[in-house]
Symmetry: C2
Subunit: 391 residues, 2 copies
């Protein structure tokens, strides 16, 4: 018996446990202080009424033999795949329902999709980065090349023709930086992928936050993308589903690599190692895409975007460099006075009683930067910004 | 870009699609015939009232910011892991809550657990078999040895000391055969695994159907098993959760292989590639293990077991050889008159208008056998048995 020794190459992430430890210590020593958390990447608003109503009805369906649902369709119920195809049609992207796969969340699919690819492929990952892209490839033993986000490229790294890549990760609007690729930039990436016979794994988990209509919300808005890209999205941030769990993955029929239709491979993978998402949750997800649900969701997104604007306005007025803060719930700022990420974390905790996330936790290129998130209460966000500026 | 070429070694399973095609053709040619389906492995009774009530309450929790749940605990909510640990305590198995992992179903975990093991391990799989064990290892490119279930061993194959194995699959009560290992037989398997430094992947998805208190319902009732076995279970058949989706996996702290604690590896795998099960579903699952829920569930299980008895009694009275039919929802019979599995399928469809599952669909050793399931309506089952006997 040999274990998968690649697991021994994983680094333990102490990011959020270290944050929790520091915050707890501070609270013990300063029990009277009111700490505001802008570090968390989780939503805080409850589910929309249309979603709640649909899930109550679905629970009732399960209570009666005549409406009870056992095993569902392998790719997810057609009612939900159709709703998602319709959502894409409004973005100008035509999908067939068999190109849409329902899952319990983008994190699962982003990890599991690697089952389809050989271990010898070379991976290209932007830094700073959502750590799951890195860890899942280390688990498989793949070689990883990094491209650096910097102040100069506005944390939107572009392809380098001298670097070979087979699997490319892109996330736009980006976690952790909040920066958003333009259509022209994504076109450069698509062209690079096609030239290199590479697959782009495109994470669009924050697409709903894009209000600038010139910016892309799906990679399939870019010509040629259906021949090189898989898109992952989730209702976690779209509709507050972080605890309800539903996502979807698009694998276009045109995506053929190494002589194999990846859509068929993914269908085989999912129908072998997955048994679908709860009927109740799929009915809730369907309601997100209804007119009523979408109107309610958009109000919530506007609330979070207003928080982001509050933070962005405060930073801008004080000449603190940042990206994000619009078309995204994240703000990525340069730590003032050349502080390191953790120095600034300590500084904010001690002087402003505000908790954020040190950029260094998202990769080497994050050192010296800091993430704030807009998922908090609006009054708390206003107060936090005052304190951050006061320093 | 190279795909995972192991996928090209997968055989397409035409079992259930061929069944559907044959049934549809028969119905078109014989529209007046009343076909009874005893082939399906899906439940038909609705969710228990205690589960429905708990899920309605959980949906309401999601509607209010003060009770809303975002990202949950990585291994699953403690309330559910504790309920499962308590359920095991009643079986005489002591577990800590950090040995219990909640998932969306046993199928996912049985597939994903292979991430932890090197490709060079040798796999031992009983034939006939739940096809997922085979396909997931073909996807990884592992060598598979089969041990045959036969009429002589009552479809309970035992280890062969001349065969080396690193990863061993056992399913008891068995799908598709319905046969159940005794404690003495499982002890032989545990001893063999310990001697070979192997891991047993024990699928206990049908444990709730065991009414004979001398039979094991968990491999951890066998001495030494915590040092060599991972147990997978699901609420799919226990509580009719095939469409609601919740399962659990036990990885004991004592399970150390190749110098690594598998529990920690699985925690790392799941926290990297999975984001937990819907809060609403976890509350429903918790209700299954309440006194009220368990009493309701046991009534449903008794209903299905009574169907199994109806089938078993009918076969026994007509000297048709079978295993299962008690302590299991499945009956595995020898096709009369030395018919092949598919010959008997056609015979039953045409002469009795009853649909079952050809044993050949579960592996070479299933040829000449046939699976009937007890998940149907009681009156239909009685009628089907009459027709099967009449032939």
């Amino acid at each position: 018996m040999q274990i998968n020794h690649n697991y021994n190459n994983l680094e333990q992430s102490y990011l959020f446990s270290t944050i929790a430890k520091k915050v707890n210590e501070y609270k013990q020593n300063n029990p009277d202080k009111n700490i505001i958390r802008l570090g968390i990447g989780d939503v805080t608003l409850p589910l929309a009424p249309a979603v709640i109503s649909a899930m109550h009805k679905a629970v009732d369906d399960m209570a009666d033999a005549s409406t009870f649902k056992g095993y569902g369709e392998e790719q997810g119920y057609l009612f939900l795949r159709q709703a998602i195809a319709n959502y894409y049609a409004k973005k100008g992207v035509e999908l067939t329902t068999d190109e849409v796969f329902i899952s319990d969340g983008a994190k699962s699919d982003v990890g599991n999709i690697l089952d389809l690819f050989d271990k010898d492929n070379i991976v290209l990952i932007p830094d700073p980065v959502y750590p799951v892209y890195v860890d899942t490839n280390i688990m498989d033993g793949r070689q990883i090349n990094y491209i650096k986000g910097t102040q100069e490229n506005n944390f939107l790294p572009m392809p380098d023709d001298s670097i070979k890549a087979d699997i490319i990760y892109l996330c736009s609007p980006n976690n952790p930086t909040g920066s958003v690729y333009t259509k022209a930039q994504l076109k450069t990436w698509v062209d690079y992928a096609l030239k290199n016979d590479a697959v782009i794994l495109f994470d669009s988990a924050y697409e709903i936050f894009v209000t600038d209509t010139t910016l892309p919300t799906s990679i399939y808005q870019i010509e040629g993308a259906k021949k090189c890209a898989i898109e992952f999205c989730s209702l976690s941030k779209t509709a507050g589903f972080t605890g309800t769990r539903c996502g979807y993955t698009i694998v276009p029929t045109d995506l053929v690599k190494d002589g194999n239709e990846l859509r068929k491979m993914w269908l085989r993978r999912q129908s072998t190692k997955f048994n679908g998402v709860s009927y109740i949750v799929q009915r809730g997800a369907e309601a997100v895409f209804s007119d009523e649900g979408m109107a309610q969701i958009k109000e919530q997104i506007a609330y979070y975007l207003n928080n982001a604007k509050t933070i962005a306005d405060g930073l801008r007025a004080n000449n603190i460099w940042f990206v994000g803060g619009e078309n995204s719930p994240y703000i990525w700022l340069k730590c003032p006075n050349n502080m390191s990420s953790w120095e600034y974390f300590d500084f904010l905790l001690n002087n402003a009683n505000v908790v954020g996330t040190p950029g260094a936790g998202f990769g080497d290129a994050g050192e010296g930067y800091f993430r704030l998130s807009a998922f908090g209460d609006a009054e708390n966000v206003k107060e936090a910004v005052k304190r951050i500026i006061r320093g």
